[in-house]
Amino acid sequence: MSEQLLDTESIEPIEKEPGRFREALHQLKKNKGAIAGLIIIAIFLFIAVFAPVIAPHDPLSQNIELRKSAPFTEGFLLGSDDLGRDLLSRIIYGGRISMIIGVVSVGIALVFGILIGVISGYYGGWLDKIIMRLIDIMLAFPYVLLTIVIVAMLGPSLTNAMIAIGISQIPRYVRMVRASVLAEKEADYVVAERSLGASNFELMFRSILPNCLAPISVQASLGVGEAILSSAALSFLGLGAQPPTPEWGLMIASSREFITSAWWIVTFPGIATLLAVLGFNLFGDGLRDMLDPKLRD
């Protein structure tokens, strides 16, 4: 609904503007996507935290005789994998690992991304130029290969995979933060605060940064989904999680050959990955619609 029609400038709010939080909550209710996303994320968080309690079996205990038993056979709600381990428990523990992967790698990307972005945007000059060249190089570098090369350097393991994914996601945050810092830097309130003696640090992190939080939070939530997929791809190539860790990507990768003989071993982790990533993307999308005034109802 366009603003022009309503001459909104005339409807000055009479009583105090409703609290920002209540406002955001209200917006959230309006946005079906964000709610659905939030629910899915909440479920996965719950599963991740209470994995030991929920999981019917120990995800690592093998039972070769009962290998590849179909779903809903006694004891195995979703069937067992090729070493006779309970698929449901492995998916539940896998959820915990994927959550950690998503949060840690996006965390790395956010911290460094924002830091570099703010500094490069705020100070500008030759520092900015160098950083931008570096970012161009990392962006020109094919994303998948960047993670592979980093993991090749650090050696294949889950933590190294997280670091690699984190590093390869840094450029997008740097670019985004730098763009909004450049825009905000010239804003009047910044000039005003500077004239009141605010230090560079305060200006950068207390006044300018909060204004760029909207796009960052959207990108972060989409980034978590992407991180989970990237770690699955790395495991598929043998560079991510190492056996016997029940990480979804590794579960799919190592059971690819059963797609004909025991379809469930590949399919259920696939669906789990799909849902988790979908949850974050839905929430991310909903967040964007909410925070972008033009798209607001």
Binding site: L60, S61, Q62, I64, R67, D82, L83, G84, A152, G155, P156, G238, L239, Q242, P243, P244, S254, R256, E257, F258, I259, T260, S261, A262
Partner: protein, 546 residues
């Protein structure tokens, strides 16, 4: 703008329309052949086997097609079609039989071998096969001053340590070649049957130079036609082959990296034979009426090596205890399926001098615990278990084997952490002894026991970068295999190798796991394909029956 969108949509629709209207029937080679043969009589007469195109689907592309230069099996699949050796393995066995050399005789001191070459044989480029070609093909790998020495590196020649074995190669006359050795080497003849000793056309090497690996010219049953990298290599029948020409008109080596995708392609008849099927699909394949699976015990062994230079693996009781702790049946069932047999010796059962009266360590966790406490580890110890990241002929899934072993070791108190690196790093670290326990294996090259016992377990092989990754240096064992290396009498060598295997069982530097059975699923109409223990894929005798 809308026009652009509609145009793109139309593009998509007309493509799919075209696809289903197009004249392309994906029918397999057989039908094409059927139209040709329709009018001929029913029972396949001799010449009736001729004709047809065979598509062989494999996991990876060849690196190069110069037999001397490469080491990967995929390259040798290509070289086998194009090149012959002076001597060769009898198809399906490891016995040696004459090929380009009709006969040969050995000097009394065993240091000279004289080969009498076949006459009237031509290379694919029409040039004559003679002694000079033999001297050229092997000499370029021996003499550093040879004009084509730098076209190497000649990896396999080095791998078999041939420079320390062969002193000189002389063309006595146009059809006689004499090899002079430094020392007596029993497996020497078998080495000459290996791929790296394939006879290349000197004229072609001079013509193509470093591009020869892309344009191989030999005397073999098939001529090289074309190579689309990472996709397919095409060979066609060599009509004037010195033996009966091959039946097939054409052989295509097709790359399909994913084992499941290979099986799906076979099911749809897009390909005729697939290599390295995934063990999981074997049962289903055997059940499929249109598909037959030819199997043969592989000349290979997959093992877990204990690094004896590291505590506690120096103590024999610990190594024996770990042997008792593993239930090999579970590993075979979980990983190899019907494509694997339990291993007890370092040699595969199909190898001559295999000592079958050795009794394997049975699965006995109680005994394992007893031995461990005797050795001073009543409640076990923790260590690392290295698993190779890639699928190998002797072990289709290293990581899964490690997972099963981890669970079984845990039952006797031995806690293991599974460690893995990419293939290059894994090999480098294991042969520098950075591991505690590591999974590895070996595929035989020339069908000679020395190729297993000396190469993998000799004291010489324990120098870093070691192939003996147990770093097992046992004087008695070592003396036996060196003596066997130098006697020519097969019966004497068998006796020595059997004694060596007894010592191996007692000292247990390894935990032998399995010999994988090589399985080759193919369509029913593919006839007379034989698997070769040394891993060759020969299509010379193959013909298509429909």
């Amino acid at each position: 703008m809308k026009k652009l969108l509609i145009a793109a949509l139309v593009l998509l629709i007309c493509f799919s329309g075209l696809v289903f209207a197009g004249g392309d029937q994906e029918e397999p080679a057989v039908k094409e052949k059927a139209q040709e043969k329709a009018q001929e009589k029913v029972t396949p007469a001799a010449d009736d086997k001729n004709g047809g195109v065979l598509v062989f689907a494999r996991g990876g592309d060849s690196v190069g097609l110069d037999p001397g230069r490469e080491t990967d099996g995929e390259s040798f699949y290509g070289c086998t079609q194009v090149f012959d050796n002076i001597v060769e393995f009898k198809p399906g066995t490891t016995e040696i039989q004459p090929a380009l050399a009709e006969s040969w005789d050995t000097s009394s001191d065993g240091l000279e071998f004289t080969f009498h070459l076949r006459k009237g044989v031509k290379f694919h480029d029409g040039t004559v096969f003679n002694a000079d070609a033999v001297v050229f093909s092997l000499g370029r790998q021996l003499w550093e001053d040879h004009p084509y020495y730098n076209h190497g590196p000649w990896k396999y020649w080095g791998g078999m340590d041939m420079s320390n074995i062969v002193k000189d190669i002389i063309a006595v006359d146009n059809y006689t070649v004499k090899f002079v050795l430094h020392k007596r080497e029993a497996p020497f003849i078998a080495n000459l049957a290996m791929d790296f000793a394939g006879i290349v056309s000197p004229t072609a090497v001079k013509k193509y130079g470093t591009d020869f690996p892309n344009n191989p010219v030999g005397t073999g049953p098939f001529k090289f036609v074309s190579w689309k990298k990472e996709d397919s290599i095409v060979f066609e029948k060599n009509k004037d082959y010195w033996r009966r020409p091959a039946y097939l008109d054409r052989v295509i080596l097709k790359v399909i990296p994913d084992a499941t995708a290979r099986y799906l392609a076979l099911q749809k008849g897009e390909v005729d034979i697939i290599d390295f099927p995934s063990p999981e699909d074997l049962e289903e394949m055997k059940a499929d009426p249109d598909i037959k699976v030819i199997q043969q015990a592989g000349l290979n062994v997959g093992y877990l090596a204990f690094n004896m230079d590291r505590k506690p693996f120096g103590d024999k009781r610990v190594r024996q205890a770990l042997n008792y702790a593993i239930n090999k049946d579970e590993i075979i069932a979980g990983v190899y399926g019907s494509a694997g047999t339990k291993a007890k010796n370092p040699l595969p059962p199909t190898m001559w001098s295999y000592n079958n009266d050795i009794v394997d360590y049975k699965y006995d966790p109680a005994m394992a615990k007893k031995l461990l406490s005797e050795a001073g580890y009543p409640d076990g110890f923790s260590t690392t278990l290295w698993a190779m990241p890639v699928s190998r002929p002797y072990n289709p899934n290293g990581r899964k084997v490690a997972e099963i072993m981890q669970a079984q070791f845990k039952k006797v108190g031995v806690l293991t952490e599974i460690v893995s690196y990419d293939w290059g790093t894994y090999l480098e670290k294991t042969d520098h002894g950075e591991h505690d326990m590591a999974l590895l294996g070996w595929t035989g090259d020339n069908g000679d026991p020395d190729n297993f016992l000396f190469v993998l377990l000799s004291a010489a092989a324990a120098e870093i970068p070691a192939q003996n990754i147990s770093f097992w240096r046992d004087k008695k064992f070592n003396d036996l295999i060196i003596e066997a290396k130098e006697t020519m009498d097969v019966a004497k060598r068998t006796e020595l190798y059997k004694k060596a295997q007894v010592i191996f069982k007692e000292e247990a530097p390894w935990l032998p796991i399995a010999h994988s059975v090589v399985s080759e699923p193919m369509m029913n109409y593919v006839m007379d394909f034989k698997l070769s223990p040394v891993g060759k894929r020969q299509f010379y005798d193959v013909w298509l029956d429909n």
